[in-house]
Subunit: 279 residues, 2 copies
């Protein structure tokens, strides 16, 4: 039985007759092909990633496992439709906190068609992308059994200023995150961001690869940052993880590093490092 995932933070959701991703009970995530050629482009990326032997295993771990494609009953009632079958990244997580962060100074690629280019450029200029080198695409933060989750709507997340985004990064590792105005306490920063298995350390591992890899250029790609909030509040291991998602616009690097992604990643690392140092 396929159902809508419990912890989706960005993109269209498979509810109320809309098309969106589905999950099963065995840990698989079914992502419907995106329109135009984006669906097949994403399949092409995952296939090329799987077959590329030059990618080290510890880097491969940053990507969801890929199990091919499958025709499954789409969530919008349109019948059997092609889906990418991926690893469900939230299997086993109870009350996680999750951020979807779109990385890069620009989300459009060279040779993008005019309309797409203009749409992306406008969004980049209106969001924190231009100033920060990344923007929030969505978030869902667990608070407590009483209040449940904080999940602001897409529009209010998109229009956050650079300062607001930094504040949300702090709320991600705070015990109270009720709304945009709460003052974050950052009390979980050291266990979630810090340490040898924390998020900062994972981001730095990814950075080292991006300083060298010239295989892929990732446009409009996101980093998912997540951890088990309730476990962390109870003093257990946060199981903090960084994953890369959304590969409809991955281009060949042709011998050049992905300076656009790398710049944004360095900016995110600096923001998180500052939270660790000064909070």
């Amino acid at each position: 039985m396929l159902k809508a995932p419990e912890h989706q933070v960005a993109g269209h959701e498979a509810r109320h007759g809309k098309l969106g991703p589905l999950v099963d009970d065995s840990g698989r995530f079914y992502k419907p092909f995106q329109s135009n050629e984006r669906g097949s482009a994403e399949v092409e990326f995952y296939t090329s990633l799987s077959s590329n032997t030059s990618i080290p295993d510890h880097i491969r771990g940053f990507f969801p496992a890929f199990y091919g494609t499958e025709l499954v009953e789409a969530s919008d009632g349109s019948g059997l439709q092609p889906h990418l079958v991926l690893q469900d990244l939230n299997v086993g997580r109870v009350h996680p906190s999750i951020m979807d962060i779109k990385i890069g100074t620009r989300t459009w690629y060279p040779q993008a068609p005019d309309r797409y280019f203009e749409k992306c450029l406008k969004k980049d200029r209106e969001t924190s992308t231009l100033h920060l080198g990344f923007r929030l695409s969505g978030l869902k933060f667990y608070e407590s059994e009483d209040s449940g989750y904080w999940k602001p709507d897409r529009k209010s997340v998109m229009k956050l200023s650079a300062e607001d985004v930094t504040s949300v990064l702090k709320k991600f590792v705070s015990t109270k995150t009720f709304d945009f105005n709460t003052v974050p306490d950052c009390s979980l920063a050291s266990v979630v961001f810090g340490g040898s298995t924390g998020i900062l350390s994972q981001l730095r591992e990814l950075k080292a690869w991006f300083e060298d890899q010239t295989i892929f250029h990732f446009y409009s790609c996101s980093l998912l940052l997540m951890y088990d909030k309730e476990k962390t509040l109870n003093g257990n291991n946060p199981v903090a993880e960084v994953k890369m998602i959304d590969f409809a616009h991955v281009l060949q690097g042709r011998g050049v590093i992905d300076h656009n992604f790398l710049g944004g990643l360095c900016s995110l690392i600096k923001s998180i490092d500052d939270i660790l140092k000064y909070s």
Copy 2:
């Protein structure tokens, strides 16, 4: 007595009645104020750089020394005009090779006026800026006493593809650089790019600062890469140097790193590192 500098590689030259920079015999470089507010913006940057005590000395060395402003007779005969008085970066160099490399995935800054924004964006898309994260603005390579210098005109330098730019980087450290079609031998790569005082090592020092500094965002700023070609051919120290120049569009960082410059810088480092490794 002021005269046109011998080794200018980019920008307007003070010859044939045109407005351009001048040098004197005491090692000073007189740069006429650029039009609009760019002249005063550049003064403001140098002043702020001089007074900022948080900039480490080894980083300060990447910038030309600044001696204030002065009204001097302009090279275009327009009488006394304001000039920035800077360090002449080529004092003492005999037969140098020099590249002017404009760094960044984009040369326009947030809040740039529409016309300037459109002009920059168009140029970024038409040059190697988009794919490489940097582009060549000018170059002048010494070859030999017989053939003198190779100094292609601005237009042919600007329209170089990413592959062509990589090839020019190789020619910079080759003994023969006569034209765009010469196959570079890269025989000087290890002494010019490599080693503890070579260009790569200097670029990495600069990179470490850019990973942390949130004071300035540098748009449309260049790196000058230069060394004494003749000395190097004779087996002497190349006196390789990296300098940052052109600060008419420097913005405040407001707590965020300059991910646009850093991305381009990392891409240049990777290109040079590859030349060292594989040639």
